[in-house]
């Protein structure tokens, strides 16, 4: 996925001189995950550069640049460090277009690695996407494969809205996949049905997709047919795809990494309720993090969703 993202940035930097890439250590070092490696050499220090260590400054200046006609792409070193920029995001990034009644377009992408499972210290493992999904005016996107990452990032850069692009760092290098070298686009806001099934719909995104796929092996052994939807977009939500599937299977499970209460799972459940109530054969269920701070590595396995936790819920839901 790291290469696919690098590739997308490379393509847009080449194609469009209004694109710049900056953030903490993204220049010389190429980012702590090497996502921007080689780009500064290729495009120079004015296009790809290290900024001072200040997230509000990074995001706020990016908004300024976008108002002035550029297409900045900034990196938050980890999702856990986006919060100093929270005021800029909720008070300005998400609002400038509406506030100015469309006078100022604010195309900008805030990229960041997110999620757990990499044995990291505090603040390096969180999944707080529902917070951002609740902010009107933002789009929040999560790819689950290298192929998707490239196509979705190019879409995000080319779009005219501010976008939070959350990269599941746990699978940065875990999924091997041939990715076309050409430019291609994956439209934002459309979920992706990864496997057809009849007994239960499972909605997931990011690193959780792979965990569901592992759980599906167990489900298959147990004779359960799972329809897997990769949500791809936390906001806007592709209600149509979810609804269609739930109407077919009558059952829904959402798998997410973040804390349970006010998380993505409750929204997806609510959508199923509102759109497919009479088709529901069991209550839409959530496999999610607990309402706790992600434990440090020695305790993280308690918190994380793995194939067994998912399968446990699949069985419960199907037997309901």
């Amino acid at each position: 996925m790291v290469n696919a993202i690098n590739d997308a940035l490379d393509i847009k930097l080449k194609e469009d001189s209004s694109v710049v890439v900056y953030g903490e250590d993204v220049g010389v070092e190429g980012g702590v995950f090497r996502v921007t490696e080689g780009l500064q050499k290729k495009y120079g220090e004015n296009r790809v550069f290290d900024s001072p260590l200040a997230e509000s400054g990074i995001v706020g200046t990016a908004l300024g640049m976008s108002i002035a006609g550029m297409r900045p792409i900034v990196e938050m070193q980890f999702c856990g460090f986006i919060y100093p920029a929270f005021n800029q995001i909720i008070s300005h990034v998400s609002r400038m277009h509406n506030r100015s009644r469309g006078k100022y377009k604010t195309p900008m992408v805030i990229r960041m690695p997110y999620g757990g499972g990499i044995n990291a210290l505090e603040h390096h493992s969180e999944s707080m996407e529902s917070i951002f999904g609740h902010i009107p005016g933002l789009k929040v996107i999560v790819p689950s494969t290298p192929h998707d990452a490239k196509g979705m990032l190019i879409s995000a850069i080319e779009g005219d809205d501010p976008i939070l692009f959350m990269e599941p760092k746990r699978i940065y290098r875990a999924i091997k996949q041939e990715v076309s070298e050409d430019k291609y686009i994956i439209p934002l806001g459309k979920a992706n049905v990864l496997s057809q099934g009849t007994d239960v719909t499972v909605v997931a995104y990011g690193a959780m997709v792979r965990e569901v796929q592992k759980a599906m092996v167990l489900a298959k052994e147990a004779g359960i047919s799972v329809e897997l939807i990769d949500l791809r977009s936390i906001y806007p939500i592709d209600k149509e795809t979810i609804t269609k599937s739930v109407k077919k299977t009558g059952r829904l499970i959402t798998v997410t990494e973040g804390p349970r209460t006010y998380g993505v799972g409750s929204e997806i459940g609510q959508i199923a309720l509102e759109e497919a109530f009479l088709h529901l054969e069991a209550p839409p269920a959530r496999v999610s993090g607990f309402d706790v701070i992600v434990p440090l590595p020695k305790g993280e396995h308690h918190y994380m969703q793995d194939s067994y936790k998912i399968f446990y819920q699949i069985e419960k839901t199907v037997k309901y």
């Binding site: 300024g64 640049m65 550029m70 100093p84 509406n98 469309g102 809205d161 806007p236």
Partner: protein
Amino acid sequence: MFTEYSVLENKLFQIIDDNGKVVNPSYMPSLSDSEVLKVYKQMLFARTADLQTVSYQRQGRIFTYPPNYGQEAISAAVGLRIRENDWLVPAFREMGAMLSKGVTLKELFMYFMGYEDGSAFKGANRVLPISVPIASQLVHASGIGYAINQTKEDSIVYAFVGDGGTSEGDFHEAINFAGVWKVPVIFIIQNNQYGISTPTRMQTASESLAIKAVAYGVKGIKVDGNDLFAMIKAIDESIEVCKKGEGPVLIEAITYRKGAHTTSDDPTKYRTKEEEMKWDKKDPMKRLMAYLQERGLWSTNEEEAILPQYKEEVDRQFIEAENYGPYPNEDVFKYMYSQMPDDLKDQLNEYERFLKWKESKLSNKK
């Protein structure tokens, strides 16, 4: 100027005194008499509009409004120098500068009446909307500055903040970025002595606000913000710094908010009559008027002759704003994204179904 009035020595840069006498002629900016008069009239118009707005508010015809009363010279100086191609990044107490940039009074009235359409600034280029979250707008200015450097445009950014705003982290980050990037931004602190009820000395223990420039390696200057000429000169020299690519400048403009913080504030709770009287002597318009009168350029009679026209014009624009009409349903949704997502379309449709139902419900009741 930056050397002679070094921020380290905490000197105040002034050109005219409280009586409008030129006390620092070597720094007097070269302005024709008619230019000076023109700026005075702009200030007069702004003050007229400002006072009238406060009275509209008292009549309940407008919601909150933050008066500019007493701070007009700062906006006027910027208004004089700012060009079509320059950017204005306001806080919320810069009416004069916004008018000079092509924003209309009507739009400002609409904004304070509660129409977002009042922030679209249809006839004005390169002005950002009013920014409510204190100091947050400064970071945008630094970003715009970067874009200017990138395209090598001939353009300068004028960014405003209050004295209270200097305490916010964004003040620090904005000027620090601007310093590292050497962007053409003139940061102007309107130090009107208070952030609502909190006096400047409770915001910071630093000697002045201008001295904070040192923390970012940028040029700074403390200016008498009620002295139009000093403000103009400070801006002129700042423009030179920007044009030479030496980066941003921090101007602390010392002034006084003669009115309330906003129309829902009562300044008698936190400041004395004596203090208000002391500052009244330094009123920027009185000082400029004395300067003009001394030179026979303007008189009380002329002022009294022109004021009714100004008042009428303000009224005209106010009434236009008042008659702007209803707020269409779809405007609640339309500008959230460059294209409306399906879900927002659904919410709009659902809302309109509700409105129909409500209408029938209410008419049944009758």
